[in-house]
């Protein structure tokens, strides 16, 4: 080896921070990875393009409010209307959060440190949740700021905005947990992207068909349940139940807390799947 390493070794006697610090650092690191920060420009292309597309309707909406002096797009319907973009973002970026560490067997480098498997998985879910939430919350907030500045006649739609922000968080947790669980099943990034997108397409394309089939069979009540098979309409049903907003589906949803219960169960199932997956990966 060359002479450059020929300097005395220095010991480290500074602080060693605890679990909170390491978990937060890992979450921030993963979040930066989702948006390709600190990576070559091509890694930023997809996430930032999709984020830009998410904001476009908000800007158009502000223009409508400013020029035509009437309310723009609804806050409560934003996620449902933009669901394809959110789903593509999830499919494209969830594998970047989990696949490399599995594929290249980096996990032992974490687990041989004070990081536990729960903290590792937790940090990954938090990172993906924050990314998805930013995707939804930024346009909603831009639009709300626009509405306040433009000062339309009548009170601002503050309650609807707050409701959309809160249900957006629930949606982000659900999508993050599910997306990561599916993406973690395969260490291959491309396969992860394809699995998430396939599942979403299935859930979005089949639901309206199921709805109209059941409806034409005269089974209105069952038809309304069909919407709950898609995560975006499922969370919209929670929003309708909690905030009394207008349903963004044809014919509405089954009433009561059932949609919320389903969301909670699905999140729990996805987290359990992640825990199992990583327990197995750790024992390799």
């Amino acid at each position: 080896m060359s002479e450059i390493y020929d300097i005395g070794y220095r010991h480290y006697d500074g602080p060693r921070l605890g679990r909170g610090h390491t978990t937060r650092a890992l979450a921030v690191h993963s979040l930066r990875g989702v948006f390709g920060l600190g990576r070559p420009a091509r890694s930023k292309l997809v996430p930032f393009s999709l984020a830009a597309i998410m904001v476009l309707p908000a800007i158009v909406s502000i223009a409508i409010m400013a020029l035509m002096r009437r309310a723009g797009m609804s806050y409560s319907g934003y996620a449902v209307i933009m669901q394809a973009v959110v789903a593509i973002f999830l499919a494209a970026q969830a594998p970047t959060v989990v696949a490399p560490d599995l594929r290249f067997r980096v996990l032992p480098l974490y687990l041989s440190r004070p990081v536990t498997i729960t903290e590792y998985v937790g940090a990954k879910v938090v990172a993906m949740t924050v990314a998805l939430y930013a995707l939804l919350a930024v346009p909603l907030t831009v639009m709300f700021a626009g509405e306040l500045l433009i000062d339309l006649p009548g009170p601002p739609r503050t309650k609807e905005y707050v409701g959309a922000m809160l249900t957006g968080l629930l949606l982000a947790v659900l999508l993050a947990a599910f997306g990561l669980a599916i993406a973690s099943l395969t260490p291959r990034r491309g396969l992860g992207v394809a699995s998430v997108i396939a599942l979403y397409l299935l859930a979005s394309a089949s639901v309206p068909i199921m709805y109209s089939t059941l409806l034409s069979a005269g089974n209105d009540a069952a038809a309304r349940w069909a919407w709950l098979l898609n995560p975006f309409w499922l969370v919209d049903a929670v929003q309708v139940w909690v905030f009394g907003t207008t349903p963004n589906s044809e014919g509405g949803y089954p009433g009561g807390p059932v949609s919320f219960v389903i969301v909670v169960l699905l999140i729990a199932a996805a987290m359990a799947a992640l825990a199992l997956r990583y327990r197995k990966a750790a024992s390799r």
Binding site: Y5, V106, P108, L109, R113, S283
Partner: protein, 301 residues
Amino acid sequence: MHILDTEGLTKRFPTVTALDGLTVTTGPGVTGLVGANGAGKSTLIKILLGLLPPTAGGARVLGLDVTTRGADIRRLVGYMPEHECLPPDVSATELVVHLARMSGLPRTAARERAADVLRHVGLAEERYRPIGGYSTGMKQRVKLAQALVHDPKLILLDEPTNGLDPRGRDEMLTLIRRIGAEFGISVLVTSHLLGELERVCDHVIVIDAGRLLRSSAIGEFTQATRSVTVEVDEGTQALAERLAELGHGVAPHGRMLLVEVTGPDTLDAIRDATADLGLCLIRLERGRQRIEDVFRETAGV
């Protein structure tokens, strides 16, 4: 204080017993853990890190029990896995800084330490390039750097010379020696070659099929390993007799001879004897015998 000690340590997998009642202790310095493939070396390391629960018996690292104090052990210990474990699309600097933070170092300290250890392992300009383009030797150095970055008290190196060419192997071994002697960090290093470890270790533990074969200071091993393998085209028997006449310890080993080296004149004697007998010397090699050979020899089989 003992760097590590195990007491009847046993690990059974559904189909194999990887460790079988292992009782050893070692002190500070460089300890070699030698054994053939499947001897249980990696299993022992994972137990010492508190990542794999023992089936029976117990172990302590730096005085901490592996079953109850795993997290504390992992704070004080560095680990270099035997397999590839580096993501190809990040640079060595980025990875090592990140892993330093995962060990609890604040951001600035992580950067400084990463730069320091990467220099110590001999990675210069290339440390800013993605790891995917590195040679095996460079990757092994990155793996070593991440094990050192949080300034551990002990590092566990699982086959660090794996896949390296002779020069890379030498450089890695020199580095390990420095870590033990100059950095003041204790080292447990595994290999299936006793010969390559003897230059860098203070103490050697030999295991086979999960059982302890031997654990002793390196001095006691040199007798066994300070021998050369001699292979001649024909006339092996004649050469053995000649060397024995001259008072050298000779043992047949398949088609080859193992000759005990007592000083520089042993090699001269081998050279002269082959020349005198008009034999064709094919191989004269030292220090690379497999551990089984060494034990066959010491056991007098």
